[in-house]
């Protein structure tokens, strides 16, 4: 090998029970370069850096640092070999000063006593080196997020980091702070530090990196020289795959004359200026990257979080659900992303789960009508084919797909009109996915309306009648069926839109 690589990952594979997170990823980091690492949600970026930090042990593959081979890392080995990771969450202690944080866990001491003065001097030097202006005596809780991140970086450099891995470093920062961070990162490159820079924001990757590596579905795709790469090319590489999956056919069932749900300039729960319409019999897809504000929007519509302004209209009438209960009674349902935490009541029976939202409706003087309760459960067990020996079985003992059906059964029993699916097939195996898709078809064909949040590009394109894309808690585009295109969606989701144009729209309305 003639080239000077600081860090090499060779054919890294990571398997979890039932899932392969990384199939085969190879990565080579040159000394003193910034390597951009990009990929869709779930491509395996996080798992890959966890392999470098020692938080995850690879199933197979080699990690080479300065030519030295390792089968696995431990947090200690990583530190000894100069690998530092800047996570989105910082490890700072707010009640301590900047200097004390810099030397957290390994303070400079004079005998038994901490030598505050020496630490402050050293800290001042370290900050100077990075050309950042932080008073070493300032308590960290009084510093802005940007400066807190700087302390993390300074800490890594102080500990002789040769490789700095930054996971979405710009996500919590303001525009100004991002620019400062760029300066520091570029300064570090000049000093010979090698950097892996992970970001959803392609513009940043283009601005900073020397080379760009793309991974997809846990596999290495390609590495490009940044000046020769184009946005289109990158997006193609990230999305890449052919539409392989088959989606069950759906009868035309959209009634454009009837709007079920309408949002007018809704703000709240972090989201800004959401306006959309869902028609009877329509599947409206909500695309975007993780953290774009899709789940947040669902929570507002479902009454789990409050809106701060704007109007929500259901069948033309303004509604303002303040709790899930109110939303459910209005005919809105949410099938949440985290099925085990928010969706199913795992320690309760199928029967209890299905009847849970309607117990008050099927009770007289608070006494449950047991016959109706049982009949309801049996009906939906049959209608949506929940595979179980008995409706008294605990939901915990069902497969993911069947749990999802129980949740759906619950909302059908509650007579919901609008059903919000948040990642409807996450963690569900392929066969069961197809069944869920068929159920979604049955729902719209029988006059329900669906808002479907999905991070799976194929699913989004395959199942939606129309797609709205969010980025950074704002709507960045709406696509009609004939406009569906993975590249376009990815571009909208990466928020590389003309911001001026967006602002213009806002002003006009």
């Amino acid at each position: 090998m003639s080239e000077d690589f600081v860090l090499e990952l060779e054919h890294i594979r990571k398997e979890y029970p039932g899932v392969v997170a990384l199939k085969d990823v190879t990565l080579q980091l040159r000394r003193g370069e910034i390597l951009g690492l990009i990929g869709e949600n779930g491509a395996g970026k996080s798992t890959l850096i966890k392999c470098c930090s020692g938080a995850v042990v690879p199933t197979s593959g080699k990690i080479k640092i300065n030519g030295k081979e390792f089968d696995r890392m431990t947090p200690q080995l990583a530190a000894e070999n100069g690998i530092a990771i800047i996570y989105q969450e910082f490890n700072n202690v707010g009640e301590l000063s900047a200097a004390e944080n810099l030397f957290l866990g390994r303070p400079i001491r004079k005998g038994m006593v901490i030598d505050r003065k020496a630490m402050e001097e050293e800290a001042a030097k370290a900050f100077d080196q990075l050309q950042i202006k932080i008073d070493p005596k300032e308590l960290v809780k009084n510093l802005s997020v940007g400066y807190q991140q700087m302390i993390e970086i300074a800490k890594a450099i102080q500990q002789n980091a040769q490789v700095l891995i930054m996971d979405e470093p710009s996500a919590p920062l303001t525009t100004n702070e991002v620019e400062n961070m760029f300066k520091v990162v570029e300064l570090l490159r000049e000093k010979g530090v090698s950097i892996i820079y992970i970001s959803h924001r392609l513009e940043e990757i283009f601005h900073l990196s020397d080379r760009i590596e793309v991974i997809r579905d846990g596999e290495y795709v390609d590495t490009l020289i940044t000046p020769k790469a184009t946005v289109d090319e990158l997006i193609k590489l990230m999305v890449g795959r052919e539409m392989t999956q088959q989606y069950p056919p759906r009868k035309p069932c959209i009634d454009k004359s009837k709007v079920v749900l309408e949002l007018r300039n809704v703000y709240g729960n972090g989201d800004e200026d959401m306006s959309l319409k869902i028609h009877v019999g329509e599947v409206l897809g909500l695309g975007g990257l993780v953290g774009a504000g899709r789940t947040e929007l669902a929570e507002v519509i479902f009454g789990a979080k409050a809106k701060t302004s704007g109007q929500i209209l259901l069948n033309g009438k303004e509604i303002n659900p303040k709790s899930p209960r109110e939303a459910i009674d209005l005919g809105i349902a949410l099938v949440p992303e985290d099925r085990k935490r928010h969706g199913a009541l795992l320690t309760n029976s199928i029967k209890n789960n299905i009847n849970m939202p309607i117990y008050e409706r099927i009770s007289k003087a608070s006494v449950i009508d047991a016959a109706t309760e049982k009949a309801n459960a049996e009906k939906y067990r049959k209608d949506i084919q929940i595979k179980c020996p008995s409706i008294n079985q605990l939901v915990r003992n069902l497969s993911g797909g069947n749990q999802q059906k129980v949740i759906l059964g619950k909302w059908l029993a509650a007579n919901s009109q609008l059903i919000i699916f948040d990642e409807p097939t996450r963690g569900i195996d392929v066969g069961a996915k197809y069944e869920i898709y068929k159920l979604i078809n049955d729902l719209v064909e029988s006059g329900h309306s669906i808002l479907m949040i999905s991070s799976e590009m194929e699913e989004l394109i395959g199942m939606s009648d129309r797609i709205i894309v969010l980025a950074e808690h704002q709507m960045t585009g709406e696509l009609q069926k004939e406009e569906f295109n993975a590249d376009t969606i990815m571009t909208l989701a990466s928020a590389i839109v003309d911001n001026a144009e967006n602002a213009g729209v806002k002003e006009a309305s």
């Binding site: 709790s323 009541l345 849970m356 449950i368």
Partner: protein, 317 residues
């Protein structure tokens, strides 16, 4: 799956086996005194008040909460009810009703702290425990209040034939508790909230309201237990309820109600009450000192919770 079912069948009956073994051991050790009719009636009287209180506690623990205030509620109900009857000359029934309403309201205060403010149940009810123990002292001045209406013996002293009325009250309360748990939607809500509070809320349950209801019920049942106790002792003491929450929690947990919430049945709690009741009685018969009793009961509580936690751990794997 079958194996699991078989196991849980043994598990739900295990507690009754423990109870029967306990009875046999005490019967032999006491030379038969333990199983005489008069001692059984005695046990029935002794268990009645914490049996009644355990029903509210069952609901509380089912939603993974805890109510440490019930000992103080029992004390305060004793003092207030006695004060109203003796010092204020109030009609017995009115005094009882007033005391029960007060007990329920203390439960509502617990509910408000836990549900609306979000204070952990352990701390919230610990605070009310201290507050209302103090209030009881303030009202009574630490002096016992006695000299009730003859008829007040109804709740704790009278019998129908050989059966003490307080035992009948307890049985009725257990029937009511089972009914709430199994036949009304409130019972379903309790299990749902105990299993997963967030998912319960997202399934349309107004979790906070249910919490208010549960702590209020816990107060109410504790209040009723206090009335029974007052009637039995014939005199209100400011220390009468001290530490009673401990016995009640032990009964409930021993009865198989998981401290992690969501799991448990009324029948198990009945067994738990009987076990603790006969344990106390048996130890008294055998002249075991009060301090040794504390040691034994503490160990029983630790074992009961330990079994619960171990089975949870095994499930997680």
């Amino acid at each position: 799956m079958k194996n699991l079912k078989g196991n849980s069948l043994i598990k739900s009956n295990a507690i009754w086996i423990v109870f029967i073994l306990e009875v046999i051991i005490f019967a032999i050790a006491s030379g038969g005194t333990f199983v005489t009719g008069s001692n059984i009636v005695n046990i029935a009287r002794q268990v009645s008040y914490y049996g009644i209180a355990s029903i509210g506690m069952t609901f509380v623990i089912l939603i993974a909460g805890i109510d440490l205030s019930i000992g103080s509620i029992i004390t305060l109900v004793n003092v207030v009810c006695a004060f109203l009857m003796v010092n204020a000359g109030m009609n017995m029934w009115v005094a009882v009703l007033a005391a029960l309403i007060m007990a329920t309201l203390i439960g509502v205060i617990n509910g408000a702290m836990v549900a609306s403010i979000g204070i952990p149940a352990l701390i919230a009810t610990f605070a009310t425990q201290t507050i209302f123990e103090g209030v009881a002292y303030l009202i009574s001045g630490g002096r016992p209040i006695a000299g009730f209406d003859q008829n007040f013996g109804l709740f704790g002293r009278w019998s129908i034939g050989p059966i003490p009325i307080c035992a009948i009250i307890m049985i009725l309360c257990f029937v009511l508790g089972s009914f709430i748990l199994n036949k009304t939607y409130f019972g379903r809500y309790f299990y749902a909230i105990g299993g997963n509070e967030e998912a319960a809320e997202l399934s349309g349950i107004r979790v906070n309201r249910v919490k208010y209801l549960i702590y209020a019920l816990s107060g109410l049942f504790a209040g009723l237990a206090g009335i029974v106790l007052l009637s039995r002792s014939g005199s209100a003491q400011s220390t009468v309820g001290k530490g009673l929450e401990f016995d009640v929690i032990t009964c409930v947990v021993l009865g198989g109600v998981s401290v992690n919430g969501g799991v448990g049945r009324m029948s198990g709690v009945i067994a738990g009450v009987l076990i603790i009741g006969s344990l106390t009685n048996g130890m008294i018969l055998m002249d075991v000192s009060e301090y040794t009793q504390m040691v034994v009961k503490g160990i029983v509580l630790a074992i009961a919770v330990g079994i619960d936690c171990l089975s949870k751990k095994r499930q997680a794997v």
